[in-house]
């Protein structure tokens, strides 16, 4: 048995971690995947390497997040191992030990935003983003594309990269009008300094392999080609499966494998997927084989019936229309930016964010500096029902002197009487400073 592409695999089922005993995100989630992976002898395939996960460090997390009140109180060991598992795959890839890799880790991360007051959609820290920023910090990788194929909109990853013109974030997901977290519409295309590097493709309930592969060909691959990334990361959520209990899509193991084969991500990271018996074992084996360049044609769910999960013509038509709309919107990006900025130096947005796992709201006022020299500094004034208010100031990678000086001034001037926490994340200096009340 030989893999035609050398593939690194981190398998970390976290058999001793759960959100709660009967939560979808619990100990049992990867149990049957482990059974299937072990029974198929996947770890014995020549060219496939099983890597041992490690703990991500506080520095790794602080490169991405503002944790409230701090990392020790927000982030558990399981999250650090989940992120650390991704880092191990990244290391193996960058050292040339493998051609691609898959971090089958839990808990997932793509709903975790820049500011972390608690858990959203079973996520606390964004494990992909921690990995992406580690790749940049450790190996100097610049342009990275993240393709999120989880059934839920990757709103956390979108938030983290909203202002970053060097990260292309594409999310394919079930239409936000029918599923948590309710966002991810074609009009959401990135902040003023990074317009067009966020791409959202909402799909109607009932979309099957045909629809996913259509979007891949029509939108995903062309946009990636135009962006010219150095690396492609796949947030490989598996809850688009026809048997998933919390979503309404009709994707299959064959479909996931075909998508992986076409996308050829350098690194895939497991996100959601809660049909732990009927889907995960088969979808994961399909993805692994597709990554490794092996024959996946016989990977099928026991109850697989392509006719039963075929998408309706109405669904097909809706998907075509969405794709047309996205392409149309992309043509008008420069005009949109003009309208967005209107000659002002700062652009603001306010919003409300729901922490469904922990059950509270957060209010945010975000300010970004319009900058010709860099991606622009960002500050977030954030207050949560859980009781804390934070000012988070972010200097982007390659931030210019003006943005840095401004950020420092904002940090110095912010009063700890107004904020419980004032943080400055300076990606130029590589530092993270905190002032506390």
């Amino acid at each position: 048995m030989n893999a035609s592409r050398r593939t690194g695999l981190v398998f970390f089922p976290a058999f001793d971690w759960a959100i709660s005993p009967d939560h979808p995100e619990r100990e049992e989630r990867l149990l049957y995947t482990q059974d299937q992976v072990f029974e198929e002898g996947i770890m014995d395939i020549e060219g496939l390497t099983e890597l041992k996960p490690r703990l991500a460090s506080p520095d790794d997390v602080q490169r991405v997040h503002f944790c409230v009140p701090d990392i020790e109180h927000s982030v558990t060991e399981s999250h650090l191992i989940s992120a650390g598992g991704c880092l191990v795959v990244a290391d193996a890839l960058m050292k040339g030990e493998v051609d691609c890799g898959f971090a089958l880790v839990r808990p997932p991360g793509h709903h975790a935003m820049k500011v972390v007051h608690g858990s959203r959609g079973f996520c606390t820290i964004n494990v992909e983003a921690v990995m992406v920023e580690y790749l940049r910090h450790q190996y100097g990788v610049d342009r990275i594309a993240i393709v999120d194929t989880d059934c839920h909109h990757g709103d956390g990853t979108q938030d983290i990269y909203w202002h970053d013109p060097n990260t292309l974030f594409i999310s394919l997901h079930q239409d936000g009008r029918t599923l948590y977290p309710g966002s991810g519409f074609p009009e959401e295309m990135g902040g003023p300094n990074a317009l067009g590097t966020t791409v959202n493709v909402p799909l109607p309930p009932g979309t099957s392999a045909e629809g996913f592969l259509y979007v891949l060909e029509r939108i995903v691959l062309p946009v990636i080609e135009e962006f010219e990334p150095e690396l492609i990361v796949n947030s490989a959520g598996q809850d688009n499966h026809y048997s998933d209990p919390i979503t309404n899509m009709n994707f299959s193991a064959q479909g996931y494998a075909a998508l992986t084969e076409r996308l050829q991500p350098h690194i895939a990271v497991l996100e959601g997927g809660y049909s732990i018996e009927g889907a995960l074992p088969y979808v994961n084996v399909g993805i692994i084989l597709a990554l490794a360049g092996m024959d996946y044609s016989r990977v099928r769910e026991p109850d697989y019936d392509p006719d039963r999960i075929k998408q309706s013509e109405m669904v097909t038509a809706a998907i075509r229309q969405t794709c047309d709309q996205i392409l149309e919107l992309r043509k008008s990006l420069p005009a949109k930016r003009e309208k967005y900025v209107k000659g002002s130096q700062y652009v603001e947005r306010t919003r409300k964010i729901f922490y469904d796992t922990d059950g509270f709201f957060e209010g945010q006022k975000e300010t970004v500096r319009i900058c010709q020299e860099c991606a622009g500094l960002v500050s977030i004034d954030s207050w949560a029902d859980s009781g804390r208010r934070i000012l988070a100031v972010h200097v982007p990678r390659g931030g210019c002197e003006v943005c840095r000086a401004t950020a420092n001034r904002w940090f110095d001037n912010a009063s700890t009487r107004r904020f419980d926490l004032v943080c400055l994340q300076d990606r130029v200096a590589g530092t993270y400073q905190v002032k506390r009340a």
Binding site: Q36, E39, R298, E301
Partner: protein, 556 residues
Amino acid sequence: MILGLDVGGTHTDVVVIDGDQVVGKTKMLTDEDNLIESVCFSILECTGDLDPQDIQRVVVSTTLATNAIVQKRMPPVGIVVVSGPGMNPDEYRIGEHYYPVTGAVDHRGMVIQAIDPQEIDILRTRLKNAGVERVAVVGKFSTRNPAQEQEIAHLLADAFPTVVMGHSVSGQLNFPRRIATAYLNAAVAPMSGEFYRAVQTCMERRGLMIQLEILKADGGTMAQERSLQYAVETILSGPAASIMGALPHADPHREEIVLDIGGTTTDMAVLVGGVPLLEPRGISIGGYKTLVRALRTCSIGVGGDSWVRLEKDRLEIGPERKGRAVAYGGPEPTPTDALITLGAATGGHRQRAAEAMRRLGYQLKTGVEETAAMVVEKTCSLIMEGVGRMVDSINQQPVYTIHELLEGRQISPEGLIIIGGPAEELALPLQSMSGWSVKVPPHHEVANAIGAAIARTTCEVTVVADTEKGYVCVPEEDYVASIDRQASTQEVIDLAFGLLKSKAFRLGADEDDLEMELLEVQEFNMVRGFSTVGKNIRVRTQIKPGLISHYREAAA
């Protein structure tokens, strides 16, 4: 008294042990054309003036089956594979008579596609016509439900003298390895059986009226009459024998490395608190990855007779062997020549060894002694690098729980136990290089035979319980029973220990040697929708590899 016998490709070693004393030992060249005769002769030679009544135990370890596998001298075996969905079963093909058939079982043991008896009928005729006499029947997830393997085996039973079922060779998951293991079992069982019966006959001729025991790759023993069913477990028992031979000298409070330095290779193993580590998935042999439980060993191509030469002005040693040392009339210099030159080893023709070192030194522009010292140092550093790689790979083993990762148990050895030909001569340089304590046990040249003699019976039992379906399955024991829906993990553990104990007795264990251990316990709530419907409990238990109590008491 106990007798240990190690039948290797080069030497046949026999020892007789009384208490913790070696009271007799012989080492003879193995005559591969008259294997049984050399064995009989060795036994006779070693027990010559003993009363056979005094010998209570005889254990043999042999590389016979290993050699047959490595040299691919195996009879044809028909392999019937029930794969169901997943990987393409053609990827696991072994030999000419390999047939994937209809049928499928899933990870919970549910039959999702029935077998087709007509298909098996046709296959039976085809295999018969091809002259195949042995068949292995292996199904994916047969360890969760062996029914389809049993059905097929039943349909084939009357046509073939040997039918091996996958679920009986191991309870561990790994379908391709199960195929290879069942295949090897079917292939080597008759040959091994014949050999062991012949040894038994030799013993009887010598008046030893006891049942022969056989050393397995995990460093444990099993009774000869059981060995036919589990023949594959006796392959690669050679390295296990030498590790077990080092065990009496192990420190129970720290981590040590056993080095068996031979002519061409050095085998190594790790002892943690005096207990050897097991290979996590099973050993590989002759290119076949198996599920055979085995001690974790690693072999590197450096030994006393390794070829020493210069390549681009750099000293290179091994992995090739060109022959014996120059001091013994060999063609090329070896580490043994270096040791003889330095006076660290005696024997052979010292002058010739020194001459070989001089020639090497001429190219290196160094003196004879310096050159010899460089060769010894390089040999030791290659061995220590091998040790380092082995330790690293153990420490890099994947983990699956937060607890395991955080506990992060890292192996850091502090001692060496060295056996084999150049053990005494290399002890000192290895000690100064590693900074570790170094022990060279007495009688280390027959450590293999000693190891065989004093190893206890071992075995493993895997239990999977599904309280939702209300059943429990122990594949290797052909045990499927119903279980209470309220059953606790402790009940499953008790069941596993009970079955382990009776299995150990069947394999020939003594009441005093049942050092049982839990290898793995996992308990999962099975939640459907949002309520718990049952538990999935997995328990793995073993008898730890170790020494028989009889010997431990004597040694204490």
